[in-house]
Assembly symmetry: D2
DNA sequence: TTGGGTTACCACGACC
DNA sequence: GGTCGTGGTAACCCAA
């Protein structure tokens, strides 16, 4: 292959890297959007930490959420922290 | 406001959360794409760790890259690691 | 100064690095101990994720814990997730 | 067992948690020491980022370090970044 | 048993 | 001085 450099297919390597860079750019754009939304929410007085917890809870199915909470409740009771 | 619950504007809160969830989904899609590209590169024999370093280097301007490397070179020389 | 290499006090640099390496070793030893304890707890049937949450809760003062929980409760109610 | 709470051996749970808390405290003390050393080095004009790289390099064996660097060099050459 | 993905944590830097 | 955002690090889990 004519485009080999040190046994490496230079064109293929370059293509992979450019694809990854393009995806990284898109991801950064979305992260910026997220920051904007959070700043807007914060500006209206919402608690960002609580919102983060909400987002995490909504990612779990109700079953696994209640399962986790019941284990935690038992442990808290065992420790007298309830 | 009719949609207040415990002093919180429920509709606004819900809107913020849904916007954030949508952005998180998009970001996940892109992360999946990145994984695909990396798997493809790996399948063709490329070294993923080296590619990651390349991506980091290309994010830096040439000036800051050479600046950082020259500091590091001095330290390595001072320690006899060169 | 006789021990300067490229304008860098080589002895001082070496000393800082060795102090940091020593501290890193100690920290690694403790991390290994933590892993052992967790493995032991897991081996006796305890839920590690719940234990992690317990540890986090105990690090917070009761006031900030109840403050955070009440905000979260209001948001969950506003979203009908309670 | 008399100390069971909700089917959980409360004493065992408490012991595990206290052991983990003690280890976490020790680790925090060491982290604080690391911060002190870094601040001292920075105060004498050393570049913390370069020192971090040095610490990482010294953790790798010379063989794996040169192996990684040679792969990277080939890739950089293939991309004309050298 | 090892490698990869996900996740959480922590220290650093910047900004206010 | 304290807070925010970010990057890097490491631990846990799973799958092969």
């Amino acid at each position: 292959m004519a485009n080999d450099v040190g046994g490496v297919a230079a064109d293929k390597l370059r293509t992979f890297i450019e694809r990854l860079e393009r995806l990284a750019e898109e991801k950064k754009g979305i992260s910026d959007d997220e920051k904007d939304v959070k700043a807007e929410a914060k500006g209206e007085g919402f608690d960002l930490k609580a919102i983060s917890i909400i987002l995490k809870l909504r990612k779990k199915s109700p079953e696994e959420r209640s399962e986790e909470e019941s284990v935690l409740a038992v442990y808290l009771a065992a420790l007298g922290m309830d």
